[in-house]
């Protein structure tokens, strides 16, 4: 892609766009694959929330670790898992990132720091804190990121995990993706304090900021500060990202009754990808043609991923009980 017009220093900003588009295209194609019956299990998409994983993971090294949620495709992709490995895992194939053991909710790529997405709300917070404990104990400057939704904030794991991370100064970044609904229960009905950052500052004396989760630059800036704090030994942080998922909780689920069409339409107007595209062009970091090229590239990549997944073999049934214990045990 020729980028003569792009000023020096633009590439990291354009890369944010590239990653968000890759996540969006992957999710759209996975949703389609689900509709076609190619995904045998559930599929929770990240559409609308791409700026958060993108902005946070842009600050991470390959040896930093991420603990994620049931809505974790975006975290996996942003941490560097290939669309091929994600798509193949959702289709239950041997080439998937969990070799067909996990599906949408159990994506693993520990070799690049994706320590698992999870079907249970809360453990990502505790495990993220635990990785921080490891790094501190072992004298490493790695950092740990725990992603979770507003649905985890009233769970005991949140209180216990943030409290331990605070009292022991663990190098952890807690990222709350407040998309306003825990499945279909509104956050406003689940807490008296929807400002998670305020709660965290007051309860745990932890650095905490509230940001527009649909503004990739705002997320990236907050994460940059939090990662620097963790890496330099100054303890944990929380980033409270306000966002919205524009597809149902899971593909194929009825999406009415708990939110209005007006609300959804309003949030679609705040699309993080469109907003960043407009900013990139206005600030002179990219042209419309540049961005179109990026979109075309993402489409090609994701089409290839879907085709790869479709043509990959299913795992050998004889291996169904492999990996329960460590090798040689």
């Amino acid at each position: 892609m020729a980028n003569d017009r792009t000023a020096s220093g633009s590439e990291p900003l354009v890369a944010l766009y590239r990653m968000m588009v890759l996540i969006r295209r992957t999710e759209e194609q996975l949703a389609r694959a689900h509709q076609m019956g190619l995904v045998p299990g559930p599929c929770h998409t990240y559409v609308g929330e791409e700026a958060i994983a993108t902005g946070v993971c842009a600050n991470l090294r390959a040896d930093d670790v991420v603990f994620s949620t049931h809505r974790g495709h975006g975290h996996a992709l942003a941490k560097g898992v290939s669309p091929r490995a994600v798509a193949a895992e959702l289709m239950g194939k041997a080439t998937g990132c969990s070799q067909g053991r996990g599906g949408s909710m159990h994506l693993f790529a520990p070799e690049i720091g994706l320590m698992g997405t999870s079907g249970i709300v809360g453990p990502s917070i505790l495990q993220g804190a635990g990785a921080g404990y490891s790094f501190k104990l072992l004298g490493s400057d790695q950092v740990s990121v725990a992603f979770f939704g507003d649905g985890a904030v009233s769970n005991g794991a949140f209180h216990e995990g943030l409290n331990m991370a605070a009292i022991w100064d663990l190098p952890v970044i807690f990222v709350c993706e407040d998309n306003m609904y825990a499945t279909e229960v509104a956050f406003r009905d689940a807490t008296r304090v929807q400002d998670v950052a305020q709660r965290v500052r007051a309860s745990y004396d932890m650095a905490a900021v509230r940001v527009d989760g649909n503004d990739v630059l705002a997320v990236r800036q907050a994460a940059e500060e939090a990662v620097a704090r963790a890496r330099s030994g100054d303890g944990p942080s929380l980033i409270d990202c306000k966002t919205y998922r524009t597809r149902p909780h899971a593909e194929g689920m009825r999406d009415g009754g708990y939110r209005t069409a007006e609300e959804m339409a309003a949030w679609k107007q705040r699309d993080p990808i469109a907003a960043h595209a407009a900013w990139l062009i206005e600030a002179g970091h990219a042209s419309a043609a540049d961005l179109e090229a990026i979109e075309a590239e993402a489409t090609t990549t994701v089409n290839d991923a879907i085709e790869f997944a479709r043509s990959s073999p299913f795992p050998d049934p004889a291996t169904a009980a492999d990996f329960i214990f460590s090798a040689g045990a």
Partner: protein
């Protein structure tokens, strides 16, 4: 050979491994400067400090989940629950995470974590401090479960737990903690899945778990005076369970009793019994018998507490009945 207590033996295993493996850390309530309610970590805080002997808030779910994350990223946590009853607050982290991470990650993430605590009925501890719960963990794929019955086994099995890469429940019966026994000065480890024939005999086989092992041995000494020659097996680990040793013994004696202080329904005795019927039915000269604690929460009052655990008289009757079949 020198004799030390069960607790001293286990602590020696921990101290030896902490000295050679800086990734080991212990979490629990009062395991830091205090050295543990049961002296499990006595003297270690002075050597290793708070990062490796971490006193925690009372948040069992929290610190078990935290230790899962630590085990996934290069550390080797030891969770010291004090009373194992407290583990129940962390069941989701155990059954949904710790036991499944190796599988879900197709073997790329290890889960070297030791979950230890005292089990069993005794001392009027009442029902929140008297549970054993090991059948729950044996039922779930992904756990190793050790129930040592003497100081030698306690040290050897904890050494193996601290050098393996799997989650291990290390369960110490509270009535065994201060019992003394021979433990060599030289380092050693005992493999999991290897039962011990702790008494040889030919008239019947008794599989005796945890605290039942010394009790059954005492009873068998008495029965020997009546020329009853009983073989006693201590499985030492319940997962993996060494069925080969049990089957071999049943092949010799033709009679089997499983003595276990914990509950009968869906318990270890039920499992052993089923496996013997599947694999050793033709060797049996009598129906398999089980001796268990009463299926009830644990009462406080000594008169009630002693009524729910199999005492020596009950063990003797069960063995005599089995031999008379």
């Amino acid at each position: 050979m020198r004799e030390i207590t069960y607790t001293e033996a286990a602590r020696e295993a921990l101290a030896e491994q902490m000295a050679v493996d800086p990734s080991i850390f212990v979490v629990g309530e009062g395991i830091g400067e205090r050295g543990g309610n049961f002296n499990t970590t006595l003297g270690l805080y002075e050597k290793y400090g708070p990062m490796r002997l971490r006193d925690t808030p009372i948040v069992e779910r929290g610190f078990v989940g935290l230790c899962a994350g630590a085990a996934m990223t290069g550390s080797r946590p030891v969770v010291d629950f004090m009373f194992i009853d407290f583990i129940l607050d962390s069941m989701g982290e155990l059954l949904n995470q710790i036991s499944k991470i190796q599988y879900m990650s197709s073997g790329r993430i290890k889960m070297p974590i030791v979950l230890r605590g005292c089990i069993g009925i005794g001392g009027a501890a009442a029902t929140h401090h008297s549970g054993s719960y090991y059948p729950l963990f044996v039922h779930i794929p992904g756990f190793r479960v050790a129930t040592p019955s003497n100081p030698y086994d306690a040290k050897g099995l904890l050494k193996t737990a601290l050098t393996g890469d799997d989650p291990v429940l290390f369960l110490e019966h509270k009535l065994l903690l201060n019992r003394r026994g021979p433990v060599p000065e030289a380092e050693y480890a005992l493999p999991f899945g290897q039962a011990a024939v702790i008494r040889e005999g030919s008239d019947a086989t008794v599989v005796a778990l945890a605290v039942m092992a010394p009790k059954v041995l005492d009873v068998c000494d008495e029965l020997a005076k009546d020329r009853l020659d009983i073989e006693v097996i201590d499985p030492r680990t319940l997962a993996p369970l060494d069925m080969a040793t049990i089957l071999e013994s049943v092949g010799k004696t033709g009679r089997l009793l499983i003595a276990d202080e914990t509950f009968g329904p869906c318990g270890i005795g039920a499992e052993i019994s089923a496996q013997v019927m599947e694999q050793g039915f033709d060797d049996l000269d009598a129906p398999i018998a089980r001796l268990n604690g009463v299926h009830t929460p644990t009462p406080y009052s000594p008169s009630l507490e002693s009524a729910i655990i199999p005492d020596n008289a009950a063990i003797e009757k069960a063995i005599r009945d089995l031999v008379a079949e």
